[in-house]
Symmetry: C2
Subunit: 282 residues, 2 copies
């Protein structure tokens, strides 16, 4: 019953999937939300239930293939460029044909998300104690966010709990199993670690995206921007910001070194957790 790999391998034939509750009827601008549609449909999609229907022509596509096309588009051009038309073009089909397989764009993104979670192979036992395991979790997430930056733009509350998302959560929790924390603390610790990776990756990815968009590196941008700022601002007013900003700029050769920020923060967070664990352990 449980597909540990990529879901939706053989989900087709859901018929014309009409929405049950269209509470936001217009087109969906702005950020993409997760888990908007009918829960039952979403679960069937993610977990690959729903057998092939008997009648009708054989489907040319699968949900998985559509999701992979979507991931390719989003990886290459960002979530903003992910349109149903673009995905349809890529799989060589009319735009509206996608709606045979997927109720809408939101659900497609849900499937895309769970699919990329499938990349975290959960190299099951990382040697070492909880600290090494949590470090591994953090770096895994950091890397995933870099491989698929668009995941940062998907609001992940009420996540579509597909097989891979569930596997991921379970795996992350097991890093802090049996070290004296309560269940609530375990959840909070994992949340803290993943949250740090997410935040740090968000900064890095935003910067890379800005560079792609403008053709200027952070440093180049700053060199163009800061003299203009100097004409306007009295640096003495912001002595600390000016000093620290300059120090960071010259040290990194850019406005920020995001990897340093990630690693620095990670060690501080782990240190903080260590204090808690020691208190429980003894």
């Amino acid at each position: 019953m449980l597909a540990k790999t990529v879901p939706c391998t053989h989900i087709t034939g859901l018929g014309r999937m009409t929405r049950v509750s269209t509470d936001h009827s217009g087109p969906q601008y702005g950020p993409q939300y997760s888990g908007s549609g009918d829960p039952k449909r979403s679960i069937e999609l993610l977990w690959g239930i729903q057998e092939r229907p008997k009648r009708g022509p054989k489907p040319r596509l699968t949900v998985e293939r559509i999701a992979r096309a979507g991931i390719e588009v989003a990886d290459a051009e960002g979530l903003a460029a992910l349109s149903m038309r673009q995905v349809a073009d890529r799989v060589g089909v009319g735009t509206m044909s996608l709606y045979t397989y997927v109720p809408g764009k939101a659900e497609l993104i849900d499937v895309m998300l769970d699919t990329v979670y499938g990349e975290l192979v959960a190299a099951d036992e990382v040697p070492g104690g909880w600290r090494a395991k949590l470090e591994h979790v953090a770096r895994q997430n950091w890397a995933l966010f870099h491989r698929h930056p668009w995941t940062l733009q998907v609001a992940a509350s009420r996540p579509a709990l597909g097989p891979n998302a569930t596997t991921k959560y379970d795996y992350e929790l097991r890093a802090v199993e049996g070290i004296g924390l309560t269940d609530l603390e375990m959840d909070a610790v994992v949340s803290l670690i993943v949250g740090h990776a997410e935040g740090a990756a968000r900064r890095a990815v935003d910067a890379a995206e800005a560079e792609r968009r403008t053709g200027l590196t952070d440093l180049q941008w700053w060199e163009a921007y800061s003299p203009l700022l100097d004409e306007v601002v009295d640096a003495n007013q912001f002595a600390t910001a000016a000093r620290v900003g300059q120090a960071a700029g010259t040290a990194y050769g850019a406005a920020h070194d995001f990897e340093y920020g990630f690693e620095f923060g990670l060690q501080r967070v782990l240190d903080g957790i260590e204090g808690l664990v020691r208190g429980r352990g003894s």
Copy 2:
């Protein structure tokens, strides 16, 4: 020269602001980016340079008024609902008139951002040491993100460094001034604290937004969702996730208690920083 309060009080008359480099010519779907346009124009906008032109009819609006209208819309209905048409309606003017004051939507959002930063009054000296000050910084940001959830959706790399953003950064850095950290570490520490507040707030705000959108609380949603999941998933496969998820659910009466997560993480992060500071101080 330096406006410490809300900028743009008297910026008008920038003429028809034609874009210099329209490298993304179409309409701007998806997430909103900060700092996209001409740096010079942006700085003038944010810092309130540019005197009233002599010729021509008296302007009926100010950039500040437009920005405040935009903030009202975004606060009430989210960044997705923030359209130029809506803002224009609210200030009682034709849509295209806004483009007399602001080069485009991206720059409007920049001004909106710096305006809300102006709410952080920087109650200058918080009693206590660096830890109390950093706690204050974290809670200030946490509260700001809750008052203006849309700020979380604005990619903030290459921030439009307006007067209030600069004041905020400077203030936050001064919390860890003179305690033995290098400039780089100061920046990293502030970044870590603000990043944690941002990440925690993001989860809370996403959940609130999901509730508004669907009319279901997290708990109600979970009660509808989880039995469907049970039909499909073998709980033994995900023993840890199932146990912890259930514990968190029953303890909070919801899938997560975000305030707890924020405070828990904040203390861990501060503990981690404390270790670093102690190492330097002695």
